[in-house]
Amino acid sequence: MSRAGALLAREVALAWGKGGGPLVALGFYAGTATLLPLATGPEPARLAAIATGMAWVALALAALLSLERLFERDYEDGALDLIVLSPQPLELTCAIKCLGQWIATGAPLALAAPVAAIALGAKPQLAPLILSCALIGGLAFAFTGGIGAALSLGARRGGLLTAVIVLPLFVPPVIFGGAALDAFANGLPWHAGLALLSAYAAAAVALGPLAMAAACRNALS
């Protein structure tokens, strides 16, 4: 197995591993999605109108939850030193770490997203689009989130700092994905929102690793 493959397998295993990982993220997602309608009132008509939006925002928050440990665990135990000392460019390494994060938590959350939205009252026809948006958006969340995780390396309460850094970066995907879902639900053209969401995810995948690598080097030196 190649170096990159070995790293991806390790990252997925670490994210799945003890301490919850995807199960905690899914539990948090289910909790948030249940909490939101309690505050808005139980009328089905009102709930149905905002169901996809709530499911989408809850997804962004749940994606935030598991980011904290992405670089921190390797930074704390010295593994990041050894990961940096490699012929594999650090940018590629960072991209693989984010991809592992997406496979381990982004994809399970994406599978849960249509379920949560329909449970809140969204039309079942929306399910495929919600799944696509959640998969593509999850990629954007993982790769922009990695920037925050790398920037907050070494800080006390790094998880909170990560959230504060990352939330503004989550704004565009939340807007684009929400717009696509809203347009589809109202029978309007929805392709633009999905295209913009995909473009943002592509930009995050391309540019995020550069920022993460620089932040990691800075944290280690």
């Binding site: 070995a6 135990d77 010295g78 593994a79 050894l82 000392l85 280690l220």
Partner: protein, 200 residues
């Protein structure tokens, strides 16, 4: 291929404090250096500086004719007091991963397992290992992927008497095949080594 390690007039600053300045060291293939100094003198920082993780304030680090970036990426091992091992994973998973990451083969990993007598520990989670066993698992990387320059941070401290002697033999073998070792130590190294004291 690293044939030599030269530090010239090296100064390193950490957190606004000058750790050391004007440090010089020249190490040829087959030579070792025992790095001593008080706690906090900068032994670990010097090792991480040689590895390129810490930037220098002044001075140069050269690896013979080898390009510095290539030498750091493929020519050196850094075994710090933080060993990079994940408590929740098994010793086998960790050894296999680090062996692959540093370019080792299956045969060399097996050899490392035998040499450091890890075979009975491989199925245990790292959290179940004692400090000495963890260190042996970390040191197995040295054999799993042959590289010329070993940067060792207190390699002996958690090891018992028997393993200090055995690891001394491993180091002697590495030097005999043209390797270089820089080791930060408090106790004397069990091999002939140049002495370099930081903050003297």
């Amino acid at each position: 291929m690293i044939s030599r390690l030269s530090l010239e007039n090296l100064s390193v600053r950490r957190g606004g404090r000058l750790l050391f300045e004007g440090l010089a060291l020249s190490l040829a293939a087959g030579e070792a250096c025992a790095l001593t100094g008080r706690n906090g003198a900068g032994k670990t920082s010097l090792l991480r500086t040689i590895a390129g993780l810490v930037t220098t304030e002044a001075g140069t680090i050269t690896f013979g004719d080898a390009d510095a970036d290539a030498a750091r990426a493929t020519g050196l091992h850094l075994i710090g007091h933080l060993d990079g091992l994940k408590p929740g994973r098994t010793a086998r998973e960790e050894l296999d991963f680090w062996s692959r990451w540093t370019g080792g083969t299956e045969a060399s990993t097996r050899q490392a397992t035998q040499r450091l007598e890890l075979s009975t520990l491989l199925d245990l989670e790292v959290r179940r290992l004692s400090a000495g066993q963890r260190r042996r698992l970390a040191l197995a990387r040295l054999i799993a992927a042959p590289r010329r320059l070993w940067l060792l941070d207190e390699p002996l401290s958690p090891l018992d008497g028997v393993w200090r002697e055995r690891f001394g033999a491993v180091m002697a073998e590495h030097l005999a095949t043209g390797g270089l070792i820089v080791a930060a130590v408090h106790d004397p190294l069990p091999i002939p080594a140049k002495a370099l004291e930081i903050g003297a």
